[in-house]
Structure formats: structure tokens, C-alpha cells
């Protein structure tokens, strides 16, 4: 085919400019929705630019125009062929109260697996310490957990909560950021086909089990529950949810029982992973506050029974939230899907 390039460019330029104007608007405003007439025009312009690119591609001299059209068609292609939900304005409350618990429930089997691995670690750590108290140095590589639990309880109670005086906010923010990093790491290790996530969950369980057994054997169960429960009932499930995300990622990589391609599987779990880790971060912010401002106060400042009751209420609310929040809308969605 022989074409007069100059005439061709002159006749088509307005169409390309119109397509570019559409694209600029779409790219600048994620909320922009086209009406049917605009959609039809956009589609027509895209097909026309595609056809122009096909014509010019065989033309040796017009590299610049060819690249311009390639860029234009590439940008329009992304808009035309994208079938995933269009990004909308951030609705944090809706996302946390509906999307997050629904996502959790959708992949609850990965959560149960995450819990089972952690409990296996707890049992291992607890039994190892009970059977071989000398292993404490290996199982608990933290200096503040190395001493005698009874001695520590005495010191904590004698300090009357003054130990962190003037540094509680700092401690709280440290806990939030550190625990969030650990959670992100646990989820990210899902890229090792889930093996890294399993190791992290098991290791966390081992530490938890060993600490628990150490305090139980020392007769300090009440202190342990009063110390751990206010923040632990949120913090530990948050790590389990990060593990759930990691196992989900690992499962998508392995692809058991799925006929979808690896790319399709990863594309499918991506939004759920982002939701899970976002929810985990929110949970850890709460846990960080509680650990710094409540967990560090012991008897006689706050009775252990009150701290344990507070933890129990938090746990009940968390279970209710994760199992029931957003459920009604979820039914509607299922109905729509069936229709």
C-alpha cells in the first residue's frame, strides 16, 4: 500500500488528538465515567488509531509517528480492555468494615491453616521448655525474657507502671511499626511458595508457647494473661492474618486444583492480599496503643482480672467483627452473582 504520509497525518491528526484528550481526562480523574455516546466515540477513536498504526507500521520513514501512535494505542488499550473494577475514591470506613472482613472470610481456610501452624509452634515451644528447661536460652533469644518469671513479675508490680514513664508514645509507635514490618514480611514470604510464611508462623508460635509455658511453670499464669491479653488478642490474630495472606500468595503460586494460569491466579489474589495487609496494619496500630498504654500497667495499678476481661471483650468483638461484618451486603453480592 502506498500512502502519502503528509496527507495521512493531516487527515488523521484531529482523531488522534481527540483520543489523547479522552485519555488525559481518564488518567487525570479516576472517577470520570463516560456516557454511552462518549464510550462509543472513544472506542471508535481507539479502533481508528489502531488501524492507523497498522498502516504506518510498514512505513520506514515515519518512526516518530509510529512511536506516537504506539504510545497512544497502548494507553487506550489499557482503558478499553481493562475489565477489573475501576479504582474509586478511597472509602476507608467502608473498606475496613465491609471489604476487609469479607476478604478474611473468603479465604478463611488459609486462616485456619495459619492458626494450625502457629498452634503447632506453640505446642512445640511449650513442650520443649517443659521437657528441657535448659532450652530457654535457645527458644527465647530476648534478654528481658531470660530471667525468672516470678522475679520479673515482682519488679513489674513494684515499678507501679513507671518503667516506661515519659516514653509510652515512643514505645507504642515502635511497636506499631515493628509489628507491621514483621507482618508484611510474613505475607511477603508467601513468594517462597508459602514455605517462608510457614516458618515465620511456626517460629512465632514457638516463642509464644515457650513464654507461656515459662510463666505457667513459674505459677504466674494470671500475670501472663493480664500482661498478654489486652494487646495480644489483637496482635496475634493480626500476625495470623498476615500468615493467611502469605499462604494465599503461596497457594496462588502453587495453584493446586486450579486450571488458571499462574498470572491469572496471582491477578486474582492481588486485591485480597492488599486488603488483608491493610486490615492487619489497622489492627496493629490498635495493639500498639494498648500494649504501650495498658499492658504495661499491672497490679496494684490495674487488677489482672480487669485486664483479662478487657482482653476477652476485645477478642469477642474481633471474632464478631471478622465473622459477621459486611455479611448482609455479601448476601446481596452473591445474589447478584447468581443472577
Amino acid at each position: 500500500m502506498i500512502i502519502d504520509v503528509q496527507k495521512f497525518v493531516e487527515s488523521e491528526r484531529t482523531q488522534w488528538e481527540s483520543l489523547e484528550a479522552f485519555l488525559k481526562r481518564l488518567e487525570a480523574d479516576p472517577d470520570y465515567r463516560m456516557d454511552l455516546a462518549a464510550l462509543q466515540e472513544f472506542h471508535h477513536l481507539y479502533r481508528r488509531a489502531s488501524a492507523d498504526l497498522a498502516k504506518i507500521s510498514t512505513f520506514a520513514s515515519e518512526q516518530e509517528i509510529r512511536r506516537y501512535l504506539e504510545t497512544l494505542v497502548a494507553r487506550a488499550y489499557g482503558e478499553i480492555h481493562e475489565t477489573r473494577e475501576k479504582p474509586h475514591r478511597l472509602k476507608p470506613v467502608d473498606w475496613f468494615c465491609r471489604t476487609f472482613p469479607r476478604t478474611f472470610r473468603r479465604h478463611v481456610r488459609a486462616f485456619w491453616l495459619s492458626l494450625a501452624i502457629t498452634l503447632a509452634g506453640v505446642a512445640f515451644g511449650g513442650l520443649a521448655l517443659a521437657l528441657d528447661p535448659e532450652s530457654k536460652g535457645v527458644l527465647l533469644p530476648f534478654s528481658h525474657l531470660q530471667g525468672d518469671p516470678a522475679e520479673r513479675v515482682k519488679q513489674e508490680e513494684a515499678s507501679l507502671g513507671q518503667r516506661l514513664e515519659g516514653g509510652k508514645t515512643n514505645f507504642s509507635s515502635f511497636l506499631m511499626t515493628h509489628n507491621t514490618q514483621v507482618s508484611i514480611f510474613t505475607l511477603s514470604l508467601g513468594m517462597t511458595w508459602g514455605v517462608g510464611t510457614i516458618v515465620m508462623l511456626f517460629y512465632n508460635g514457638v516463642i509464644l508457647g515457650a513464654v507461656g509455658m515459662d510463666y505457667i511453670l513459674a505459677g504466674q499464669t494470671k500475670f501472663l494473661l493480664g500482661w498478654l491479653m489486652p494487646h495480644g488478642v489483637i496482635e496475634i490474630p493480626a500476625i495470623l492474618l498476615a500468615g493467611q495472606g502469605g499462604l494465599l500468595l503461596g497457594g496462588a503460586l502453587i495453584g493446586w486444583g486450579s486450571r488458571a494460569s499462574l498470572r491469572a491466579r496471582l491477578r486474582a489474589v492481588g486485591p485480597d492480599l492488599a486488603t488483608l495487609i491493610g486490615g492487619v496494619a489497622v489492627m496493629l496500630v490498635w495493639a500498639g496503643f494498648i500494649e504501650a498504654f495498658l499492658s504495661q500497667y499491672h497490679e496494684p495499678i490495674i487488677p489482672y482480672a480487669a485486664k483479662i476481661a478487657f482482653g476477652a471483650v476485645e477478642l469477642a468483638l474481633l471474632v464478631a467483627f471478622l465473622s459477621m461484618a459486611g455479611r448482609k451486603a455479601g448476601k446481596d453480592e452473591t445474589l447478584n452473582a447468581k443472577l
Binding site: Q6, L53, R67, A74, R84, S173, P271
Partner: protein, 257 residues
């Protein structure tokens, strides 16, 4: 054939059109990351200085806010910029890189989040060694974060037009006396063939004299096979002049003969 290039990803549309995306190399990406690391450091220092007044109110609060700000900047820097700048950070802008969906579709927020969170694994054991190795091994130069998020990093080099006036100005072109053949030549020559001829002319002074004669002979013979001009148009011109005439016809279409 664009499909055979290892640094190019060709997207084939359902309309039968293919457009290439140039993939960024691990080294370029590392340099972009280094620029971003400096930006993060600068933001953190600015933030620290701006929050300095809090120390007069409470050391505890000042320290806590600084820790949170550092964390938010280091985690959120790439996520925020890649989302609002459509796949670019400062480092990527400087080096003309862009994160795009691996299938050429619109980049989603979840993709931006996942690829940036997985930096924790890509970083291991230090300085993105895992990510760098994954980039080298991956067919699409993807680190683990890119694999999980289904993204690629593309390169958009600045296009510079060749200085045709330097090599073609003031030269009489006998091929332009035959406009119908010139048009046919433009139609028959592929962009790759045209590019070779142009490069040979642009770099002719760098060539060894004997090699230069041989090279232009080969190129001219190739174009003679593609299309034969009448004898009066080719009589008395050297192979190099023949190639120059071809390049003139191919690249200076907007100029009057």
C-alpha cells in the same frame, strides 16, 4: 521481529495490532531505586526538622511522631507516587522508567501495594540481591514483587531525530526525479532496513576506508534488489551516494524534491 528481542515485551491486541514495551534493565532499575532512596532520606530529614518543635512540647511525642513519619515515608513513598504519577517515582521519572501492568492494562492500586510490600523479600539478603537475581532470570525482567503484582517496569527513551541535514543537505537526489518509484521504495523498505542505512550514513566517518566501501556496496546492492531505478537515475553515482539517495527518499518525505 520485535518478539525476538529479550528487552521488549510485545502486546498483541484483539484488533490485530502489536505495540512493543521496552523493558528496563536491572541496572537502570537499581539506579532509579538509588535516587528514590536519596529522596526518602531527604523527605525523612525534612520531616524530622519540621517536627523539631514537638521536642519543646514532649520528647516522647516528638520521638513517636518521627518514628511513624519515617515508617510512613519509607513504606508509602513508592506506593503514593506510583499511584498518582501512574507508575513513576522520582527515580523512575529521572531515568524515564514506568511501572505498567504486565498485560498492558490499567495499573491497579492493589498492584502498586503488592509490588511495593514485596520489596521486603526482594531486598534480601541486602541491596535487592533476591530481586536483582529474579530480574536477571525472569523473561520479563521482573523482581518477585513484580511477579506477584503482575507488573513490569518499562523504559521510555527520549526519541532524538537524526540530523538529516548534516548528511543530506545540498545534495542532488536523482531518485526524486521518479516520484512513483520513490513512493514504491518507501512502501517496500522495512523500518529496520531503513534504520541500518541511516546508521551507516551517520557513522560513515568512523569506518575504516576499505570496510566503508564494502559496507555501502552491500547496502546499495540490497536496495537495488528491493527496487530498481532507471539507469539515468543511477548512472555515475557511487554506492554511498546510492544509499544517501535512498535515505533521503525514505526519511525526508515532507521536503519538496
Amino acid at each position: 521481529m520485535p518478539g525476538t528481542k529479550t528487552n521488549t515485551l510485545v502486546i498483541q491486541t484483539s484488533e490485530g495490532i502489536a505495540f512493543p514495551l521496552l523493558l528496563a534493565s536491572p541496572v537502570t532499575r537499581f539506579l532509579a531505586w538509588a535516587i528514590d532512596a536519596l529522596c526518602i532520606l531527604a523527605f525523612c530529614n525534612i520531616c524530622s526538622a519540621a517536627l523539631g518543635f514537638l521536642k519543646f512540647i514532649s520528647w516522647d511525642i516528638a520521638s513517636a511522631v518521627t518514628i511513624l513519619a519515617y515508617f510512613a515515608i519509607s513504606i508509602g513513598y513508592a506506593m503514593t507516587l506510583e499511584w498518582y504519577w501512574r507508575g513513576q517515582t522520582v527515580g523512575k521519572r529521572v531515568l524515564r522508567l514506568r511501572v505498567v501492568d504486565a498485560q498492558g492494562l490499567r495499573l491497579q492500586m492493589s498492584q502498586v501495594i503488592i509490588r511495593n510490600l514485596l520489596r521486603f523479600v526482594d531486598w534480601l539478603p541486602a541491596f535487592y540481591m533476591v530481586g536483582g537475581l529474579a530480574c536477571l532470570v525472569s523473561h520479563r525482567a521482573q523482581r518477585l514483587g513484580d511477579l506477584a503484582a503482575n507488573t513490569i517496569v518499562t523504559r521510555h527513551p527520549r526519541l532524538t531525530e537524526p540530523d538529516l541535514e548534516q548528511i543530506l543537505a545540498g545534495k542532488y537526489n536523482s531518485f526524486r526525479e521518479h516520484p512513483h518509484l520513490a513512493a514504491r521504495l518507501r512502501q517496500r523498505v522495512s523500518p529496520e532496513e531503513a534504520g541500518i542505512a541511516l546508521q551507516a550514513l551517520m557513522r560513515r566517518d568512523e569506518l575504516d576506508p576499505v570496510e566503508r566501501v564494502t559496507l555501502f556496496e552491500q547496502i546499495a546492492n540490497h536496495f537495488r534488489e528491493v527496487l530498481r531505478f532507471p539507469q539515468e537515475a543511477t548512472d555515475g553515482i557511487t554506492d554511498e551516494q546510492y544509499v544517501r539517495n535512498v535515505v533521503d527518499v525514505l526519511f525526508r518525505t515532507k521536503m519538496n524534491p
